[in-house]
Structure formats: structure tokens, C-alpha cells
């Protein structure tokens, strides 16, 4: 591309490590025209972030970057990267909380690069900062200027980070998973903002993401990286409509999509190759279902026009269906006609006290200091919920909505302030028996934190077996083998420590531990959220199989409504501690929707429907803190359909709609029907 702003040809990156030289990037080429947007996708470890760091010249010692050509606006990028970054190349990283210094005001942080790079004095810089914050859609920039990061919501923080990056009017913005740490409704707003910035400023974007929906929404072109190599590259719409490389196809098929709920997901077996060994042939071949011996030959990125694929069999395999994976347990639970409630919770509530301990805080605002009453936060507010036997109840909501607390309340891991809990028809006391704990278990989000780094797999699995009296002595070994078989890990893994396993493998051990006591009910707390798409698909499939095999019930907690739609029989939508809607999955997804459910559904970026969807999106006001003493509907302050006084002052009661869905909303039935349409 002649007039490309950024043109990188044949970039390679090697790290020297104790185990030898690691080839993190191998002959990567990409070009972004002025005003263009390129998406960079691939699983973790594929080299996405290394690519950004190489472009910024931020790689440490021991990293060797070579390139046939790396030009940014005619200059040699590898030589001048240090002088370009912050000036002509802006960067936005994943976690805005980590990107902002908690001890400085937003104003100082946005203004600082202006004083450094543009020679402004602080007064000018602050004025400019205010303008920048306004440009990123912050309503009260003057107030935000003086705020500290902890006073802002995640979305506001990310806007401030974007304002910071925009300060020096960069030509190119590098975005490293800019919305991954945000809620889906906030993510939608940030994506809107990026779109607007591109249109208004003609800025170019390089977006690194694992979420193909986001890439489709923002980008013109797409580059798929696998283990440091570009495997497919081309215009976004064409690549996503018809991915040709088996890896790209696998990635697409592994995503749970709301409109195809309940279908079995495709997972890509295996792990990334060992990057210390450069495979001259196709490095995806060991995991590829279409691999043939000739894949060991070197492959070139080839293809007609601008859609290029690094696979010599792309033309042949494109029409072949993805081979069926062995499905050890046929899902046949659909047939179960009547399901009795296994777990019933009524009026569950839980508040968390603010900071305190022995000492209460002194409050000297207004006159004499006085002992302030401890502030408490309502995490779960009068929730009534039931999980039937053999059923998956999906619990969806944004972060901070109390999903995880509710899950722990149901296991009695967190004592409830109020409410009753029944399990299998008997009341569960606040300090439950060991028998209850055996029957009700939990799977965690973060596989690194879920396993004790000092315990081997064997020790992890042995403990619940002995504790719950499942097996003793020699029988323990056989039982551990059985558990490892169940979660499809080799039996040799019993001697491994957590650091010797990949994220997906660790998560499987977490599942095996939860299943060791042969439970009937399992809380899956964001159990797949920390995993790569392809690994997530495999774990979701595993959870479905185990449920079919043992008739398990899950409370499946997730912020990702795609995952929820995929696995759930019934769905409950939670907002600020209250269940706003619950019912059969299909009914909840089809509508009528609670206004919050509708906004959640419309905010999900979906591959293929990107452009049209953007216009129909329901835009929510940014998460304002509820005014103190407010007693009304928790969603009222953000609700586009708000009815005024009624919504603000009265908590809506749960009522049953004609399709059996429970709804907590003041809107009359007829009006609910018109609340934005979901996806069916």
C-alpha cells in the first residue's frame, strides 16, 4: 500500500530466554491506511501484545526485532519509535484502573503529556484537557478534571485514558483490549466513541482484541495471528463472513452466539506450539483437524486479492464441515419433563459493612466531629430464586450487581442477613452441615487463584474425597483417575503442580475438585470468563457433558450474555442486587424484555450484524451512583423508559407475564412489548 500510514513488512521478534530463543513474531506484515482500522486477533500467547510493544519500541533488553520494512508515515518506525510514541502514536491499554495513577487527579494525568510533548504551560494544558475529556463524551469535564481515578467508574476511566492518548493529536491509536475490563453496556459506549473519533479526526486504529464481535464493529481489516504468524488477513467483513484458515474458522465457531443458543460449540484441541522451536511448516498443523503430511512444507500467505491465507489447503477445506468432536455424553436432558426445585432461596439479602473494624470513622463535616454510622452497601436485596434439579440457571448482570455474592449466599459461604434457603426440601441453616457442602460446590473464575500453588493435582483431588468419605486408602487413586478422565486430562497429570498446566487445564482441575464430592448443585462463578475463546468452548462443552451425565444443576454466573444464552435453561437478570427478570431462557431472550435486559442484549457486539446493530443500540446513561435515600427501582436512574416519580420512589414488584417470565418493572405489559427487540 503506497499511501499507508503504517506499513510493516516481515517483522520478526525473538526473545532470549533461559530455555533458548523464543520466536514471538515470525514474518508479520500489516498495513494501515490513513484513517483505517485494523483488528489483530488471536489467543493469548499468539503475539498480539508483543506486536504493539515492538511498534512502540517498548520491548526490553533481550528482545531482537528485525523487519524488512517498518514505515510510519515515511519514517523508519524501528528507529524513531521512542520519539513517536505519546506524540503521533497513542496507546490505550486494557485495564484503565491500572493505566491511571491513583494518586494524581485525572486533570494532571491528561494534561501532563501536553506539557511534555506540546510545550504548553499547565494552565493551557488543563484547559485543553477539559476539552479532550468533553470530546470523549464525559458530561461534566470540569468536575472529572479534579477527580481521582477511584472516584470514577470503569467506563469513565477508560474515556479519560483515551483523552490522554488523544492529547497530542496522534495519527495512530493502538488499542490493547480496550474494553475487556468493562461491562458490556459500557463497552458499547466506548466502541461508539472510537467510531466517532475515527470519523471526526480521521485517526487510524490498531485494535487488539480476542473478541471478534468488537473487531467486526470497529475495523475495516483483520489480521489473525497464531503463534506469532499471520494466518489470515483481509477485509474484516469478508474474513469474518468466510474465514478460510482452519484456525480462524475454529475461532469463529468457538464463540457462543445468542442466536444459536444450545448448539454444541467447536473447540480447538491442544495448546500453542513451543515457540522455542521454529516449525518450518504450518505451526497450526498439530491442532488442525484437516492436517495432512504436506502441511510440514513451508506455507506462504497467499490468496486472490487482499484476502490472504497461510494454508495450502484453504481452498479444499473451506467447503469441508468442521469434523464432529467426540461427544462422550449425548445431551438428552431436554427430555426431562418436570423438574422439581432442588434449591430454593426466598428473600435473600446481604449488606456489606464499609470499612470499620473496631473503629468507626469520625465525621467532621458540619460542626463538631461525630461518630459516623458505618456505611453499608447492599450487595443482594431480597432475592427469591430457585434452581431445579438438572437445570442450568444462568445469572447475568454487570460487575458489581451482586451476582457472585448471590452465588455464595446460596452455598452459605457468605452468611445471609435475611432469607431462607432450602436444599432438596430441607432448610439449610446458616452454618450448614458437611453433607450440604458435599452436595453444593463451586467453580471459580480465575484458574490461577483457584488452585493452591503448593499442592499437586493429586493433593487437590484427594482432600475432598477423604473429607466427604467418598474413597479411602487405595480407592483414592482409582477415584482420582476417574475424576481426571471425567475432565479429560491425562492421568499422568496427578503429579503436576498448577504452574505446570495451562489455564484451561487448571480450570479442569478446579472442575474435578468441585465434582469430587459428587455434588448435585454447582455454582459456576464466571467459570469460563478468564479463558481464551477456544478453551472457553471446550470447558463449556465439558460442563454441558458433565451435567448431562450426572444430572447436575448449575447456577451459571456470567457477565457474558452469549455464554449465558448458550448454556442456560432459565435465565435470571440481575441489576444492583435485585433480580429484574427471570424465566425460561428462550422467553427471556425473545422478549418482552426488561429495559435493562434489552440494553444488555443490544450492547453485545455480534459478528455480522455489526453496522446495522450500532444504530439500534439502546444507549444507557453512565452508571451514576444512586442518590442516598432513594427507594425506587434500582435501574430507574439509567432507564430510558423511566416513568418518573413512580419508578424513582417505589420498588417494582415481581409479576408474572403471560409467557411465564417473572418481571420486576413498572412498565405495563403493552409497553414492555415495545421495549427494544432482542435478536430473534
Amino acid at each position: 500500500m503506497a499511501d499507508a500510514l503504517l506499513d510493516i513488512q516481515g517483522l520478526s521478534l525473538r526473545y532470549a530466554t533461559a530455555n533458548g530463543s523464543v520466536t514471538a513474531l515470525d514474518d508479520v506484515s500489516l498495513a494501515i491506511p490513513r484513517g483505517g482500522a485494523m483488528g489483530l486477533v488471536g489467543e493469548s500467547g499468539s503475539g498480539k501484545s508483543s506486536m504493539l510493544l515492538a511498534m512502540l519500541g517498548l520491548l526490553g533488553k533481550g528482545a531482537a526485532v528485525t523487519a524488512d520494512a517498518a514505515r510510519f508515515d515515511g519514517q523508519d518506525l524501528l528507529k524513531v519509535a521512542a520519539s513517536l510514541r505519546g506524540r503521533r502514536i497513542g496507546t490505550v491499554f486494557q485495564d484503565p484502573s491500572a493505566a491511571l495513577n491513583p494518586a494524581l487527579t485525572i486533570g494532571v494525568q491528561v494534561a501532563e503529556p501536553l506539557t511534555l510533548h506540546r510545550g504548553m504551560n499547565w494552565r493551557e494544558a488543563m484547559e485543553r484537557a477539559e476539552g479532550l475529556l468533553a470530546e470523549t463524551g464525559i458530561h461534566d469535564p470540569a468536575a472529572v478534571l479534579k477527580a481521582y481515578p477511584h472516584q470514577l467508574s470503569g467506563g469513565m476511566k477508560q474515556r479519560a485514558v483515551i483523552a490522554q492518548a488523544l492529547g497530542c493529536e496522534p495519527d495512530l491509536l493502538l488499542l490493547d483490549e480496550p474494553t475487556t475490563a468493562l461491562d458490556v453496556t459500557v463497552e458499547a459506549q466506548i466502541l461508539d466513541l472510537l467510531d466517532a473519533l475515527r470519523a471526526r479526526r480521521g485517526i487510524s486504529l490498531l485494535l487488539v482484541s480476542h473478541n471478534l464481535g468488537i473487531v467486526d464493529r470497529i475495523c475495516d481489516d483483520l489480521t489473525v495471528l497464531y503463534a506469532g504468524r499471520v494466518v489470515e488477513q483481509g477485509p474484516c467483513a469478508r474474513v469474518l463472513a468466510g474465514p478460510r484458515h482452519p484456525y480462524a474458522r475454529g475461532l469463529m465457531a468457538a464463540m457462543p452466539v445468542i442466536s444459536h443458543a444450545k448448539q454444541r460449540l467447536t473447540s480447538i484441541e491442544g495448546n500453542l506450539p513451543d515457540l522455542t522451536v521454529v516449525d518450518p511448516g504450518c505451526n497450526f498443523a498439530p491442532r488442525c483437524p484437516f492436517a495432512v503430511p504436506s502441511c510440514a512444507e513451508p506455507q506462504a500467505l497467499a490468496g486472490e486479492g487482499d484476502h490472504r491465507v497461510r494454508c495450502h489447503r484453504a481452498a479444499q477445506t473451506a467447503t469441508l464441515p468442521w469434523p464432529e468432536q467426540k461427544n462422550e455424553a449425548p445431551a438428552s436432558t431436554e427430555a426431562t419433563p418436570e423438574r422439581r426445585p432442588l434449591l430454593e432461596a426466598r428473600g435473600m439479602s446481604r449488606r456489606f459493612a464499609g470499612h470499620g473494624g473496631l473503629w468507626r470513622s469520625l465525621d467532621w463535616r458540619g460542626g463538631w466531629p461525630k461518630l459516623a454510622p458505618r456505611k453499608s452497601v447492599v450487595a443482594v436485596d431480597d432475592v427469591t430464586i430457585e434452581v431445579r434439579s438438572g437445570e442450568v440457571l444462568g445469572l447475568v448482570g454487570e460487575s458489581g450487581s451482586g451476582k457472585s455474592t448471590l452465588g455464595r449466599l446460596l452455598l452459605r459461604l457468605v452468611p445471609a442477613d435475611a432469607g431462607q434457603l432450602e436444599f432438596g426440601g430441607t432448610e439449610v441453616p446458616l452454618r450448614p452441615s458437611s453433607a450440604f457442602c458435599q452436595q453444593a460446590q463451586i467453580i471459580f473464575q480465575n484458574p490461577d487463584s483457584a488452585l493452591n500453588p503448593h499442592h499437586t493435582v493429586q493433593e487437590v483431588l484427594k482432600r475432598p474425597l477423604e473429607l466427604f468419605g467418598i474413597a479411602k486408602g487405595a480407592a483414592v487413586g482409582a477415584e482420582i483417575d476417574r475424576l481426571l478422565d471425567l475432565v479429560r486430562l491425562p492421568r499422568s497429570y496427578r503429579t503436576r503442580y498448577p504452574h505446570q498446566m495451562s489455564g484451561g487445564e487448571k480450570q479442569r482441575i478446579g472442575i474435578a475438585r468441585a465434582l469430587a464430592g459428587r455434588p448435585r448443585f454447582v455454582v459456576c462463578d464466571e467459570a469460563v470468563s478468564a479463558l481464551d475463546v477456544s478453551v472457553q468452548a471446550a470447558v463449556l462443552n465439558l460442563l454441558s457433558d458433565l451435567r448431562a451425565q450426572f444430572g447436575l444443576s448449575y447456577l451459571f454466573i456470567s457477565h457474558d450474555i452469549g455464554v449465558i444464552a448458550h448454556i442456560s435453561d432459565r435465565i435470571a437478570v440481575m441489576y444492583r442486587g435485585a433480580i429484574v427478570q427471570q424465566g425460561e431462557a428462550a422467553q427471556v431472550l425473545r422478549g418482552p424484555h426488561h429495559p435493562y435486559t434489552a440494553s444488555l442484549l443490544s450492547a453485545v457486539p455480534v459478528v455480522g450484524s455489526a453496522r446495522s446493530q450500532a444504530d439500534n443500540r439502546i444507549r444507557l446513561a453512565e452508571n451514576p451512583m444512586a442518590a442516598p435515600g432513594e427507594k425506587g427501582c434500582s435501574f430507574a436512574s439509567r432507564c430510558p423508559q423511566q416513568l418518573g416519580n413512580l419508578c424513582r420512589t417505589q420498588v417494582p414488584a415481581q409479576r408474572r407475564l403471560s409467557n411465564g417470565v417473572m418481571m420486576a418493572c413498572h412498565l405495563p405489559d403493552a409497553q414492555l412489548e415495545t421495549v427494544a427487540l432482542g435478536l430473534s
Binding site: G357, L358, H454, H455, Y497, Q500
Partner: protein
């Protein structure tokens, strides 16, 4: 590839652990049998051979009373080693459980424990030692206890802060979901993750304890002259530092070797106990 992985997965003992442990063992043995292998009587005055530099007769020279420095080091090693290891052991035995309990229960238990600890920290260590020893008669055992108590707050705070971050992890909640007993959670789930940090700290404490112990001795509250405790020897050598530096240097060197060796053991143990340091296994 697999052969390499196999080799790496086996637990290998860090070299510094072996080296450090060897030195420590030799020093402890010498400390135990020292009085019997000393070439001279460590308390025998020899006015005519005062302050002799190191020679074939007196390897480490003689002191201001003509006593053989080597003999005094050998005879006094027992005191110093007992002080270092004993006091550290006491601070561990009291401090670590307190820290674990404070971190586990939080709330008022934490507040009470930590305020008492703050109180202990706010007093100068020598003063605390003096206080404890003032109400009793001097003696090695009591000095060890006093020094051990002085180091309890450090162990408690360190244990608590590391334990807090461990207790926030999901595997603790997994244990709670099995209704594990508190003792199990603290002993089997938390402690293995806290040990590495504590061990390194403890290995430093051993040398500090020897020095604090000798400071107390110097103040007349530990083993008394003519006992040849190392710290006491260093303290007593001060006036002669310009004329006969070997009197203080020799015990100082011993202390130094012990310090380095104990730290080697500490770091080696930390690596040995951390499964992550044992290399990654593949396939």
C-alpha cells in the same frame, strides 16, 4: 525435549542450600564440641603474651589478657549459636501463629493482636530486653527468651501481611466450601505459601538475634564475662581495635560466615519449597 523436561521436573536441591547447610552444620558441631577441642583454656590469663598477633601458636592471636582468641571463639560458639537459633525459633513459634490468626479472623481479633504488636514495636528492642531481664536474674536461657520476644512483632506482621493476600485467593474459598477446619486451612493451605517469605526473614533474624543478645550481655544482662560469647568478645575488643584488631575481627568473621551460610540456607529452602522454582514440565 521430553528427556529435558523429565530431568527438570525432578526436584533438585539448590547448590547454595547444600553449601550453606554444610557450613552451618560444621559451625554448630564446632560450637558443641568447642570447649573440648580448644587448644588453650579460654579463661587462662597469660600476661606475658598479651595482644599477640595471629601466629602458629595462636591462630587468631591473643587478647588483652593474653587469652587465646581461637579457644575463646570455640568455647563461646555455643552461646552465640544458641542465642541465634533459639531466639529466632521462639519468635517463629509465637509470631507466626499470631499472624495467621490475625489474618484469618480479621475484625476485633486482628485489631487486638495488632495493637499489642504495635505497642511492642514502639518500644526500643534493647529496652524491652532490659525490661524482661530486669525482673529476673541474668542467664543464657532468659536472654534467649527476651530476644525471641523482641522479634515476635516482626514475625507476626510479616506473616499477617503475606497471609492476608493468600487468604484472598479462591482456593481458600474452595476449602471453605468443603467446610474445612480453620486449623487445616491455616496449616495446609496458607502456611506453605507463607513459609518462603518467613524463612528468608528468619535467616536474617538469626544474626540480628546474636547481635542483640551480645548487646544485652554487654549491658550485663546475658552471659557474663569471662564467658566468651561472640558478641561479647566483639564488644570487649572495642578499646583495642587500633592496636590488636584481631581480637574483634576473629569473632566478627565467624559471625559473618554464619550469617552468609544461614542466608544461603534460607534462600535455598525458599527455592526448594516453591514448586514454581522447580522448572516447568511439559507433555
Amino acid at each position: 525435549m521430553t528427556a529435558v523436561a523429565q530431568k527438570r521436573r525432578r526436584r533438585h536441591v539448590p547448590l547454595i542450600l547444600v553449601a550453606g547447610a554444610a557450613i552451618v552444620v560444621v559451625m554448630v558441631l564446632l560450637g558443641l564440641i568447642g570447649p573440648w577441642i580448644a587448644p588453650y583454656d579460654p579463661t587462662m590469663f597469660a600476661v606475658r603474651s598479651r595482644m599477640q598477633p595471629p601466629s602458629g601458636l595462636h591462630w587468631f592471636g591473643t587478647d588483652e589478657f593474653g587469652r587465646d582468641v581461637l579457644s575463646r571463639i570455640l568455647a563461646g560458639g555455643y552461646y552465640s549459636l544458641a542465642m541465634g537459633f533459639g531466639a529466632t525459633a521462639i519468635s517463629l513459634v509465637i509470631g507466626v501463629p499470631l499472624g495467621l490468626i490475625a489474618a484469618f479472623y480479621r475484625g476485633w481479633v486482628d485489631d487486638v493482636i495488632m495493637r499489642i504488636i504495635d505497642l511492642m514495636i514502639s518500644l526500643p528492642p534493647i529496652l524491652v530486653g532490659l525490661l524482661i531481664l530486669a525482673v529476673t536474674s541474668p542467664g543464657l536461657g532468659k536472654t534467649i527468651v527476651a530476644v525471641g520476644l523482641v522479634y515476635v512483632p516482626i514475625m507476626t506482621r510479616l506473616t499477617r501481611s503475606v497471609a492476608l493476600s493468600v487468604l484472598a485467593q479462591d482456593f481458600i474459598e474452595a476449602a471453605a466450601a468443603r467446610r474445612e477446619k480453620t486449623v487445616y486451612i491455616l496449616w495446609r493451605e496458607v502456611l506453605p505459601n507463607v513459609w518462603p517469605t518467613i524463612i528468608v526473614e528468619a535467616s536474617l533474624r538469626i544474626t540480628f538475634a546474636i547481635l542483640l543478645g551480645s548487646a544485652l550481655s554487654f549491658l550485663g544482662l546475658g552471659p557474663q564475662p569471662p564467658a566468651s560469647e561472640w558478641g561479647l568478645m566483639i564488644a570487649e575488643s572495642r578499646p583495642f581495635l587500633d592496636r590488636a584488631p584481631w581480637i574483634g575481627l576473629a569473632p566478627g568473621l565467624c559471625l559473618c560466615v554464619l550469617l552468609v551460610a544461614v542466608n544461603f540456607v534460607g534462600e535455598g529452602l525458599r527455592d526448594l519449597l516453591d514448586p514454581r522454582m522447580q522448572g516447568r514440565g511439559h507433555g
